[in-house]
Symmetry: C2
Subunit: 205 residues, 2 copies
């Protein structure tokens, strides 16, 4: 197996965070430069099928893309520490929080950066209204996580799970547009400080 | 258990499609009217925690939201026919296709409707640029599914899976803004006709 990844990009970083939490060190990792367009080269497209990273190339040559599908496959190969839930109920609740983290915070913040940061104008036609709307949307959604983290040490419960990785890496990426947690969210700040102190914090950064 | 759902809305319809494919008939379903704002009532918020549908209320009162987390929980309770994959590899590939269907097609089409259909102006401040950009993005992504369906009978492989439900219900919802598959996509049209002929096609519509 071989993992194509890329520094700075948010979706590869999710997988690197996940691998660091799992202690996965025996997987070949190949960093590509997305801004240089390596993902659009004929060789890459022939191998992966789409101009995206991350991509996990399985031993029979099948390419698996989508950061969370890659994490789920790695969870099956490296089951401990568990990051997706130990039974159906816990798995459903962790998936719910993972999706909330992705759809309500990480994805809008990604759009805010892509449509708002000058350096990313090479990737698409930037629309300022999308950046502003997305930033406001992510900001509003943080209240939900603040309330959750008043009750739980981590987003998914009492141990780090995929839900934490998605929220944490999403917030870290948004530092590119100077997005910061505010003091009105003390539980999020406590949680962020705890995650920043873990070795996984710098994985893929 | 009790499922809160809503007619016309795309995310509840995913769950209803999934239940119909599974043959789940013994689950209490309560339809609410999202445009009338039932989801914002104190009673609903006290029970569900967020103003969203679908929501599955578990027997101990815990509310599970997020359509695909609900589907995964139902998959554990009603394992046949399998809709999420029978082993780690198949599950990862189905998750990849489900995410592509959601992120590249269904979610942009949902934004196109919410920001483009006059009847939905009650739900948020509509931004025409978001509707147009999203519609174009979904249109471009269909080529990927056309190529996939040239190789496979269904999006996830040779039987219907969650990936089909997400793509199918996303496309059906976009009929509200007159979005149609075109003849340049014969395999998608063949697949859509097959899914429209199944009893699940009208579930939640």
């Amino acid at each position: 197996m071989k993992l194509y990844t890329s520094r700075l990009a948010p979706n590869p970083r999710r997988v690197r965070w996940f691998m660091a939490e799992k202690g996965i060190t025996d997987l070949e990792v190949v960093d590509i430069d997305l801004r240089a367009g390596v993902q659009k080269s004929p060789a890459y497209l022939a191998e992966v099928g789409l101009p995206v990273a991350p991509a996990l190339i399985l031993d029979d040559g099948v390419a698996l893309t989508e950061s969370l599908a890659i994490c789920r496959y790695l969870e099956a190969l490296y089951p401990e520490p568990n990051m997706f839930g130990r039974d159906a109920r816990e798995a459903a609740l962790i998936e719910m929080w993972t999706r909330r983290a992705e759809l309500l915070v990480a994805h809008p913040l990604m759009l805010a950066v892509r449509h708002g940061h000058p350096a990313l104008a090479v990737l698409e036609t930037q629309i300022p209204a999308i950046s502003e709307t997305s930033l406001a949307q992510a900001g509003r959604a943080l209240g939900l996580f603040e309330r959750r983290l008043a009750d739980c040490r981590f987003v998914g419960g009492e141990r780090p799970t995929l839900a934490d990785g998605v929220l944490f890496t999403g917030l870290e990426f948004a530092r590119m547009v100077r997005f910061r947690l505010e003091e009105t969210h003390p539980n999020l700040l406590r949680w962020q400080a705890e995650l920043r102190a873990r070795p996984s914090a710098e994985a893929g950064a």
